[in-house]
């Protein structure tokens, strides 16, 4: 059963990519919706299977690592697979209504969407360094394609910038992979770890980790490598922005985090860990500050992503040479942050898209007086904002709580300040939007009400991110599941 689920998980998005490639937008939408159902069910099934039986390694083509490629199907991975299923299906559903079916080039949205999804699944499950590279490229190129889809100069400009950054990041990562392979002769992360457990660290291998993390940080848009992100996320169509912000940046971070957690202890050092943390903190402050100053709604949300990504990189200092419980707390906190940010940011972008549709303008000022019409989307936007501000009971809050605990537990109290200040700064830009919407204006007399289905989706996502805090213990418990069998090196 589990094997079928795995095959289904890998097959469905690729197959649907091909299927939808052959259709026009309207048919593609219909087929996609069927596919979404299939994929969600498969993801859910896998998640249930893993949470019942524990994780396992899945050798593709029947070959085991290091010769073949093994997928690492553990609690964390399936959680992210499920998360992807939720967010992507929301975005897919939303896009089906949101995107103008009359433009012929929009038919290509669906195949790119499905390729993106398959790339994401490949990254979550990947246990092979090179395979992760291919997965990353799959994600990057489909994401760039989505940003550029039928775009004007602005979108092209953003997508070129995005593409170049992504390519540079990939190359840095690949260089790291090359060094690792030269050093250890294997591409399996588990294999490297296995070897390092019993042998002294060979000289010169720190660079590999540094290169990989740097490359991934560039792809994740860590400050000061973030400049490509806001234009790309801001200018894309809202469902695309949602996918990019919610999932795509997380994929590269996920790899970086995995590498750090597995290899950071032997190959990393304290200064690097603190440096990454510092950059993350700078991202939080700088991203929030810039988000406060944006005039366009989606740019605010995009810069908010820069800031929120900063939180993720606090994982590095908080797991380096600290006690086991602190490491666990930090890991759990970051996991929750990833999940809640994914849900909240997707909700926010989708809601922002709806608002733009309603007001007919992408500017923040245009929200003036909108709240009189009680747009559902504004409410969704607000709820998602709660999670971004990491106020309870959102998942963001639970994440922040765990990170606070980890910082205090490790004695690195300076991150506490960062966390608190970051929360306040994010409140500043979220409330800026609220503020704009609460302003009464006599001029607003026309308001387009988007279809209900468009409005419900961000609401569901926002509620999920809000409610995540209440069930975070359950969610995290799946992560901690033991492996069914020890992975072979």
């Amino acid at each position: 059963m589990t094997l079928w689920l795995m095959a289904g998980l890998l097959f469905t998005p690729l197959a649907w990519a091909v299927l939808t490639l052959l259709m026009n937008f309207t048919w593609g939408r219909l087929v996609t919706w069927v596919g979404i159902v299939v994929q969600v069910l498969v993801s859910l099934g896998l998640w249930l299977a893993v949470s019942r039986d524990g994780g396992f390694y899945y050798g593709l083509g029947g070959w085991e690592a290091p010769l073949g490629i093994e997928l690492r199907v553990d609690g964390l991975a399936v959680t992210f697979v499920l998360l992807t299923a939720v967010v992507a299906s929301a975005c897919g559903w939303h896009a089906g209504v949101y995107i103008d079916a009359d433009k012929p080039w929009h038919r290509y949205f669906w195949p790119l969407f499905w390729f993106l999804w398959s790339g994401l699944n490949a990254v979550w499950l990947g246990g092979d360094l090179f395979n992760l590279y291919v997965g990353l490229e799959l994600i990057s190129l489909s994401a760039v394609g989505l940003v550029a889809l039928g775009g004007k100069a602005g979108a092209l400009r953003a997508s070129i910038r995005y593409l170049l950054a992504a390519l540079l990041g990939s190359l840095a990562y690949l260089l790291g992979v090359a060094l690792i392979y030269g050093q250890f002769g294997t591409l399996s992360i588990a294999g490297v770890v296995f070897w390092l457990e019993e042998h002294p660290v060979p000289a010169g291998s720190s660079l590999a980790l540094a290169l990989m993390v740097t490359g991934l940080a560039l792809k994740t848009a860590l400050f000061p490598l973030h400049r490509w992100l806001p234009p790309a996320h801001g200018i894309a169509k809202s469902p695309v922005s949602a996918l990019l912000s919610a999932l795509v940046v997380k994929a590269s971070f996920y790899i970086a985090a995995r590498l750090w957690l597995e290899l950071g202890e032997p190959l990393g050092n304290l200064a690097a860990a603190q440096l990454v943390g510092l950059l993350g903190s700078a991202a939080i402050v700088w991203g929030s500050w810039l988000a406060c100053r944006q005039l366009e709604l989606k740019q605010v949300v995009a810069y908010s992503s820069v800031a929120q990504i900063g939180y993720l990189f606090l994982l590095f200092p908080l797991t380096y040479s600290v006690s086991e419980s602190v490491t666990l707390q930090a890991q759990q906190g970051i996991t929750l942050q990833v999940i809640s940010h994914a849900l909240a940011k997707a909700a926010m972008f989708l809601a922002a898209g709806n608002l733009i549709l309603s007001t007919g303008s992408s500017r923040v000022d245009a929200l003036k007086g909108v709240s009189r019409f009680l747009p559902f989307s504004l409410f969704s936007f607000g709820l998602a904002g709660v999670s971004l501000m990491s106020l309870p009971p959102s998942g963001g809050f639970a994440a922040k709580w765990l990170l606070l605990q980890a910082s205090l537990g490790s004695g690195q109290w300076w991150w506490v300040l960062v966390l608190l200040v970051g929360g306040l700064l994010s409140a500043a830009y979220v409330f800026r939007i609220y503020r704009a919407s609460f302003l009464e204006s006599s001029e607003t007399d026309h308001f387009y009400h988007p279809p209900r289905s468009l409005e419900i989706i961000p609401m569901i996502l926002a509620l999920l991110s809000l409610g995540l805090g209440l069930v975070s213990a359950e969610v995290l418990s799946v992560m901690a599941l033991p492996f069914e069998e020890e992975g072979s090196p």
């Binding site: 007086g369 009680l374 106020l391 609220y434 213990a473």
Partner: protein, 498 residues
């Protein structure tokens, strides 16, 4: 899960679900919205009454589950939470009635009532929270749900006030979060427990505990409007009257004060707090706030702003009460939680009536309003005298109990503070009353509206009168069982002899 675990959840859910339903209702659905509002309020009141009776007999209501690893979400009904829950349930009902009348024909009513219910749900959560973590959860929820109410008017001024409010409260929330997280790191998850946790605690952590206490008070003090963290409160006056009433009398400031009491009584424990030397400075701070805010109130010409400063002053009574190390004073402080709520909501209702019926906002416009609106003015008079501490009204019971308590532990200066505050209260309320009753009215009211038979709309007329009657009753009947005073005595009895 038995019924007893469900009742607190239900009490919380009544307003939460009401809020969601109201959000979903169309703006025009006036009758249905009112019905939902009042129905939920009545249901909640019923549940609270059931719980009050149960808690009195010693039944435990509660539910808990692990929320974040290492932290539990706890809802629990004890005597103190029932005090706050009872207050919010009763006053919610009245404020809802009032708000229905107040917002007649104004825009954005669905939004208003939705957030209004959400706000009450948060208050309920704060009341029923069983540990600091859960408390914080609802505490922040309250911040968020009140923001739309503060800025409801949508004017620049309102938004500015809203911004101030948010900056203050969120910063306070951040500090509070830090403190709670730190405390959690030092000693783990602590449920609220009568008598606290730190009596005879390890001396090694005393330094941390002291610092955490300061942070906790600083975080909670923002909402409780302790000097110098009170700046948001007078500004928040731009909100519609029911909101001001709710902010000042029930939800926000009380949440802060309630939290401080929780920290002193049920987390640290009075003995431990006192042993750590934390209570005396807190008492001085509260005393200073009482006097300072009263002095500031003297110079306010806007009626609601004057009331706001009065709130700042009065809320610190609660804190003063609990920071006096003695049971009687604690009773005084706790009982003021209710008394101040009832009295202040009366005043704000009345202020709202003047504004809505006659367009009066400033004190110098109030000349002779007593003849035009006798019912409202009687209520206002009762509320004002209550604030001054004139017997036999609610305020007197507070002051008397607190004074007795302070004397019992030889803190005579508290009596001086109480007297000075009463004098100042008299100094800023009596002139208002004088204008109300004994001045000749101006030729025209600033903006008069007519409502048939009564002096104002019936929705607006009865709530202040009811609360005024309550102000009298809780004072006169203070020694009845289930009166606020008796309930506070019950709480303190359980607190001091756990």
């Amino acid at each position: 899960m038995t019924l007893n675990t469900w009742i607190p959840v239900l009490a919380l859910m009544t307003s939460l679900i009401a809020s969601l339903v109201i959000f979903a209702l169309p703006e025009k659905g006036y009758r249905l919205r009112t019905a939902v509002n009042l129905g939920a309020a009545l249901l909640k009141l019923g549940l609270v009454v059931v719980m009050v009776w149960g808690v009195f007999r010693g039944v435990g209501y509660g539910v808990s589950f692990t929320m974040v690893p290492g932290v539990t979400f706890v809802l629990k009904a004890d005597a103190f939470s029932m005090m706050f829950a009872g207050l919010s349930a009763v006053l919610w009902l009245l404020t809802t009635i009032y708000a229905v009348g107040y917002l007649e024909d104004s825009p954005n009513r669905s939004r208003f009532f939705g957030f209004f219910s959400l706000c009450v749900a948060s208050t309920m959560g704060i009341a029923l929270a069983g540990n600091l973590f859960t408390f914080f959860l609802f505490y922040e929820m309250l911040t968020l749900s009140t923001y739309p109410l503060v800025v409801h008017r949508g004017t620049e001024k309102a938004l500015k006030a809203g911004r101030t409010y948010v900056i203050y409260t969120l910063t306070g929330g951040a500090v509070l979060l830090l403190a709670i997280a730190w405390l959690h790191g030092v000693v783990g998850d602590l449920p609220f427990r009568e008598g606290g946790h730190f009596t005879g605690s390890d001396p090694d952590i005393h330094r941390s505990l002291t610092l955490i206490f300061i942070l906790l008070v600083a975080g909670l003090g923002v909402k409780a409007a302790i000097f110098p963290l009170h700046g948001w409160l007078p500004q928040a006056m731009v909100a519609p009257a029911p909101v001001s009433a709710l902010l000042h009398a029930v939800a926000v400031v009380k949440a802060g004060a309630f939290g401080i009491v929780r920290v002193v009584h049920d987390v640290y424990g009075v003995d431990a707090s006192s042993a750590l030397g934390l209570l005396e400075p807190l008492a001085w701070l509260a005393a200073f706030t009482i006097i300072y805010a009263s002095v500031r109130a003297l110079w306010q010409v806007d009626l609601k702003r004057r009331l706001a400063f009065s709130t700042v002053s009065q809320v610190s009574y609660i804190i003063l009460g609990v920071s006096i190390f003695g049971p009687v004073a604690a009773v005084g402080g706790l009982v003021h939680l209710l008394h101040q709520g009832i009295m202040k909501i009366t005043l704000f209702f009345c202020a709202g009536n003047y504004a809505e019926t006659l367009g009066i906002h400033r004190i110098d416009e109030m000349d002779g309003a007593g003849r035009r609106m006798p019912g409202t003015s009687v209520a206002f008079t009762i509320g004002a005298f209550g604030m001054i501490g004139a017997p036999p009204l609610a305020g007197f019971i507070t002051k008397w109990t607190m004074g007795s308590g302070a004397l019992a532990v030889n803190m005579d200066w508290v009596v001086v503070v109480l007297v000075a505050s009463s004098l100042l209260n008299a100094a800023y309320f009596l002139p208002v009353l004088y204008r109300l009753w004994f001045r000749k009215p101006a030729a025209h009211w600033p903006h008069e509206r007519q409502w048939g038979r009564l002096e104002t709309s019936a929705w607006l007329f009865w709530p202040p009168l009811l609360t005024a009657v309550m102000t009298v009753m809780v004072g006169v009947l203070a020694s009845l069982p289930f009166s606020p005073l008796s309930w506070a005595e019950l709480i303190v009895l359980r607190e001091y002899s756990p």
